[in-house]
């Protein structure tokens, strides 16, 4: 590995890591959203539980889960490092700084949005991941699969939890609105013929994925899913 020098410790290298892990998490969200959207089949959770059972037992997925956690932790750790460095780069703050004149508020608030998402993730992992992987799902469905669907229906009867999930999806949407196109720019994938596509796809991706995720607790709480 000699010759790579400061490839990942330089400012641009650190941003590469943010971009790569960010895109990886974006890909993960697609898988996560697709499996969860199986609840909308509305068959009492049978299909959803097949998906959940597969995700919990397939060895490739389990190995991927480890990579996912590493990716997430690296994304968080690197963000903290970069934020601390960035704060040191301007020790005396401006008395007046008109940020809204030149940039979007969410592009300047990625740290705040990310922190909100991290708090949500702790709640979310405790709600479902810990239950399905460790403490165990109490019941089984008609197919004999662990009934994660029942756990979900029970959790989303709590209006406070539903509200937390919806608010978190707003954070997710704005985090992605900046993060998606930003990752491409950081990795140098800027091309006049594709920029429109990247930006446009990023906006649609952010909105659709956040709405789909938010629709799940809403649908369960509203009794639209049985």
């Amino acid at each position: 590995m000699s010759g790579f020098g400061n490839a990942f410790s330089s400012s641009i290298g650190k941003k590469f890591i943010m971009g790569i892990t960010g895109l990886f998490l974006i890909l993960f969200l697609i898988v996560h959203c697709f499996i969860n959207a199986l609840i909308f089949i509305n068959d009492g959770g049978l299909t959803f539980n097949i998906g959940a059972h597969f995700m919990a037992t397939n060895w490739l997925i389990r190995a991927g889960e480890v990579v996912l956690f590493i990716g997430l932790l690296v994304h968080i750790f690197q963000a903290l490092r970069l934020t601390l460095q960035n704060q040191k780069a301007r020790p005396v703050k401006y008395a007046v700084n008109d940020g809204k004149a030149n940039s979007k508020w969410y592009s300047r608030s990625m740290g705040l949005l990310g922190t909100l998402l991290l708090i949500f993730l702790v709640v979310h992992l405790k709600d479902f991941w810990v239950v399905s992987r460790f403490t165990g799902i109490p019941t089984v469905d008609a197919n004999g699969h662990e009934d994660l669907y029942a756990v979900m229906r029970e959790k989303f009867q709590d209006p406070v939890r539903v509200a937390v999930y919806i608010l978190a999806m707003f954070s997710l949407c704005y985090h992605l609105l900046h993060g998606f196109a930003s990752a491409f720019q950081t990795l140098g994938w800027n091309h006049s013929k594709y920029n429109g596509l990247i930006k446009g796809f990023g906006v649609w991706y952010s909105i659709i994925i956040s709405i789909l995720f938010a629709a799940m607790p809403i649908a369960v709480y509203a009794g639209l899913i049985n």
């Binding site: 020098g5 330089s10 641009i12 290298g13 590469f16 960035n86 004149a101």
Partner: protein, 256 residues
Amino acid sequence: MSTGNMNLTLKVWRQKNNNTKGALVDYKLSGISPDMSFLEMFDVLNEDLINKGEEPVVFDHDCREGICGMCSMFINGRPHGPKDLVTTCQLHMRSFKDGDTIVVEPWRAAAFPVVKDLTVDRSAFDRVIAAGGFISVNTGNAQDANNLPIPKMQADAAFEAAACIGCGACVATCKNASAMLFVSAKISQLALLPQGQPERYRRVQSMVAQMDAEGFGNCTNTGACEAECPKGISLENIARMNRDFATSKFISEETV
């Protein structure tokens, strides 16, 4: 000179030197002409201060025609004030209203220490250029222009990058005090031309290393730099620099 009718309140950052703390000081100005440039308005203020026996406000300026990159005021929260694509010297008082309060601060970045009042030391930029922002050729007679055919699009992009005057507005406005727009413009103007190719990947490594050593922050792609740049330098240059940096680290066999 003061033949106008504008009354203004200025809140100007006064700081003796980099070892002392500064503070905003209020000044009332009257009779300001809307046709004055922002710097001429400061000249009026300084004449007043000198007549009163006070220290005039120190600020950077040179050509006063928008091309040298010396002027550097952070006006009401924006570098070079409220207008797009102009430097402070090309900003005129007609861009403000009678009775306005205008807050004027220096560029704020660890890499740009305050020298005095509104003047900051931007020699960090010079050191970044010295690290690789050049081509190593012996000078001699000018070659025939057709010796090196350059596509028009390429030449235009290089020219647009070369329009950077190194004023530091990008650093000043960036929430992270990052110098990526400046450094990427200085890398791009050479990376886009045939003369820049022999040292292309060595250059990007050296200049990025120097940029980091100077203590500039890291880019978060907010786009504030591009929006505030008086010369309209594009974010494409940052992407190009990132691309070249990746190539230099992972593909090129040359290490610096």
